[in-house]
């Protein structure tokens, strides 16, 4: 039987690197998809998730309920993704341009890859708060109460963001799936 989160969190607090390794192994891939959808690429998500885990490692003492380590970690993931997208927005749209150039240079023609890129571009067209709410709701399939706990945003505001995101995505992706 695997060790409960509480014991592993206590181990990390006591300086046990093995306990940290076990937590990473347990949650390693759990939030990767969210980070990829929010940042736009696996490479950027990798950076974000490295940062997430180091933040969790340094601040494990502030995890008030170790039995709910996963929920606490999710909050860090959301915050790191917000920080990342905010910083990127401050740059000169380099990310989007680079992505287009890379795709053109590689001449990617596989339908699945092309569809996923179209979807990712559509997600990136959404305001960050709408993208975050939409991904948590319809990609990660969390309840509004769960999303409210993780993001600190009220349920009614979340519903509005998700609704607007769906509407915008339908417009952006209309041509993609009616081909």
């Amino acid at each position: 039987m695997s060790q409960p989160d509480r014991e592993l969190v206590d181990g990390v607090r006591a300086g046990d690197l093995g306990a940290f390794t076990a937590l990473v192994a347990r949650y390693r891939d759990a939030y990767t998809r969210f980070a990829v959808r929010m940042t736009g690429s696996t490479l950027d998500a990798d950076d974000v998730m490295q940062s997430v885990w180091m933040r969790a490692f340094r601040n494990i003492g502030s995890c008030k309920n170790p039995d709910r380590f996963g929920a606490w970690l999710y909050q860090i993931v959301v915050n790191e993704c917000r920080t990342y997208t905010t910083r990127r927005a401050l740059r000169d749209n380099r990310f989007v341009d680079d992505s287009s150039e890379t795709l053109a240079a590689l001449q990617v023609t596989e339908p699945d890859v092309a569809l996923r890129d179209e979807i990712q571009k559509a997600l990136e067209c959404l305001p960050a708060d709408q993208r975050e709410a939409f991904v948590l709701k319809h990609v990660e399939e969390l309840s509004y109460d769960q999303i409210a706990e993780i993001t600190g945003v009220g349920v009614s505001a979340l519903k509005m963001r998700v609704s607007r995101a769906c509407e915008r995505l339908r417009e952006l992706l209309e041509g993609v799936y009616h081909e």
Partner: protein, 195 residues
């Protein structure tokens, strides 16, 4: 595609194929965990060094010395204090130990859709061409690897298909005394402090 779960609508009005693609699992690079653990070990080492330095100052010590030796020690301490004052006056840089305790992870990326293998060589791996291979990243032809590097100046190049020397197009280049070009990377010390 409309259903209800937990009393909440799942209707997005989006095509199922789109949602399926959005929900496709994503996997991080195979070396994600080893890079993370290297960072965690560096963090622990930094904490231990900080604690050791703090303990050295707060731990009580008893010195036994003859009157003559005590006088010599007192004079020595006074001289050391004066000298350190001079050093601090000339060089106000603090926390030099932190620079040595810390590594920064640097991601090397090369886009080459025709390459079959790519590796990076540099002063950090002894310019060994098989030491540090790059992996195909999220898209075909995009090669990458992240390495822990100490702060400072590093020179490197890519080796494509085991023989072709490629200077990083995204970096500045420098030539050695034989005219061979390599790329230059400056790694700044990691910022230190609580998050």
């Amino acid at each position: 595609m409309s259903d209800m779960r937990d009393g909440e609508t799942r209707d997005t009005g989006l095509d199922e194929r789109v949602l399926k693609a959005m929900r496709a699992p994503e996997v991080l690079a195979p070396d994600f965990e080893s890079r993370l653990m290297a960072q965690a070990r560096a963090e622990i080492a930094r904490r231990q060094a900080t604690t050791a330095r703090r303990n050295w100052w707060v731990t009580g010590r008893v010195f036994v010395a003859s009157p003559l030796a005590a006088f010599a020690m007192a004079a020595g301490i006074a001289l050391a204090a004066a000298a350190s004052t001079l050093v601090v006056t000339r060089r106000p840089e603090p926390a030099i130990i932190a620079k040595h305790d810390t590594v920064e992870f640097v991601r090397f990326v090369l886009v080459d859709s025709s390459a079959r293998t790519v590796s990076v060589v540099g002063d950090f791996n002894g310019w060994k061409r098989d030491e540090t291979p790059l992996n195909v990243a999220s898209k075909p032809g995009v090669w990458s690897v992240s390495l822990p590097l100490s702060p400072g100046r590093h020179e490197y190049a890519f080796i494509v298909d085991g023989k072709r020397w490629v200077v990083d197009p995204a970096s500045i280049a420098a030539s050695d005394e034989f005219g061979t070009e390599s790329s230059v990377l400056l790694v700044a010390p990691a910022s230190i402090g609580a998050l």
